[in-house]
């Protein structure tokens, strides 16, 4: 039995599918986050130099990874949207931006909290920190550009181009610590050199990353459902007129 996956590119068909998927992603995310935080705070050993302050890594690094990953995913959806003129792709790109911005902010905030006791400064203008800050502005730019244009199709296309252009910043963030000398340390976990962390620390960090990833999926799917209702004038409940229609009738 083959499933016709392409039918889910229609917002109307995707809406119930997303609704069925959300609880699964949300539940697994909560469980993984619990396990990850427990491992991070109680199982993982104290670091030999930083003491307990290093434990912010279990939020900081997953958040920073997600901030970059979500931007790429957003740009891919924007690109597919531009190429195929698919409404749902633009809606996905629109739904990803706030979560990506949240993770970028979280990475910057936890980084500052770690930087003060470790480096001796909340903030420095080195290449890694500055490019991550620019990423936050890019997310803000994508969202602002969308809301500043009333015509939905034009808003979709302009913010998609903005998102695609900004994707050049992602490799800059990732490789900034290799290309230039920065105050921010190099990658503790990388594809080429493996891990420079103790095994339990790494496990906890990867669990948190997976948890953040599943959380993102759940939140983005919920948001895309709201966007579908808003933009497609879908009835919120079976047989009932939409909120927009109700408001229109009252007036």
């Amino acid at each position: 039995m083959s499933v016709n996956w392409s039918k889910y590119s229609a917002p109307m068909a995707f809406y119930p599918l997303a609704g069925r998927l959300i609880p699964w992603f949300a539940c697994v995310a909560v469980v993984l986050m619990g396990v990850g935080l427990y491992m991070g705070f109680f199982v993982a050993p104290t670091d030999f130099q930083q003491g307990e302050a290093y434990r912010i890594i279990f939020v900081h690094v997953p958040a920073a990874w997600m901030s970059m990953f979500l931007y790429v995913v957003m740009a891919v959806w924007a690109g597919i949207g531009l190429g195929l003129n698919a409404r749902l792709s633009f809606m996905m790109a629109q739904a990803i931006a706030p979560t990506g911005a949240m993770f970028t902010f979280l990475a910057l905030l936890t980084g500052a909290m770690w930087g003060k006791p470790t480096w001796g400064a909340w903030w420095v203008w080195d290449a890694r920190l500055t490019s991550e800050l620019i990423l936050l502005f890019q997310y803000a730019g994508v969202m602002l550009l969308r809301t500043s244009i009333d015509d939905l199709r034009r808003a979709d296309r302009s913010s998609a181009v903005f998102a695609l252009v900004g994707v050049v910043n992602v490799p800059i963030i990732y490789f900034s610590v290799q290309w230039w000398n920065t105050l921010h340390q190099g990658a503790s976990v990388s594809m080429s050199t493996g891990s420079k962390m103790a095994a339990t620390m790494l496990t906890a960090m990867l669990l948190m990353t997976l948890a953040f990833w599943l959380y993102s999926v759940a939140v983005i799917l919920s948001r895309v459902r709201c966007i579908v209702i808003e933009r497609e004038s879908l009835p919120v409940w079976e047989g009932e007129p939409t909120v927009v229609q109700k408001v229109a009738e009252v007036r």
């Binding site: 130099q49 930083q50 480096w119 400064a121 420095v124 695609l164 000398n181 420079k196």
Partner: protein
């Protein structure tokens, strides 16, 4: 080619052009993007004269001296090839230690001493429990462990 294929090719070419442009721009600004200069660059005169800049490297073992006023410290920053003497008046960050990375902001004095107005500790990418650090210190006798980063893990038995 269908119109949608054309659009994808157009997007791909656009991203490619953008990527090339970014590489060229970043290459042109290479020297402006570094956070600090190394002692070798200081020795070869590549650093701005009469202006504030940052130097970074490892705090040389046995070079940290505290003056009698309790605030002024002297130490040398090295990249294993060259070293620069630094004086700093102020509170050092907790992770500042001999044999560890540090970044200092300030100016080069006439006598070649770097007068720092701010000192930051540069942390490396190694995370491990104290026991592992001790094991590493033993292994270090053979000199096998080498990090690619500026900060060579010393793995010394240090208090937390």
């Amino acid at each position: 080619m269908k119109p949608r294929h054309k659009r994808f090719v157009f997007i791909g070419l656009g991203l490619l052009a953008l990527g090339v442009a970014t590489v060229l721009v970043l290459n042109a600004f290479q020297s402006n993007l570094v956070f600090f200069f190394t002692p070798t660059q200081v020795a070869s005169g590549e650093v701005p004269q009469g202006k504030s800049f940052r130097i970074g490297g490892m705090v040389e073992d046995g070079s940290l001296v505290r003056e009698n006023d309790g605030l002024t410290v002297r130490f040398s920053v090295t990249d294993t090839a060259k070293s620069v003497p630094v004086t700093y008046k102020g509170i050092l960050p907790d992770l500042f230690k001999e044999g560890k990375g540090a970044v200092a902001q300030g100016q080069l004095g006439a006598d070649g001493t770097f007068i720092a107005s701010e000192v930051l500790a540069k942390h490396d990418e190694n995370y491990m429990p104290p026991e592992a650090a001790e094991a590493l210190a033993k292994a270090k006798a053979s000199g096998a462990q080498q990090s690619k980063s500026l900060v060579v893990p010393q793995g010394k038995k240090e208090s937390l």
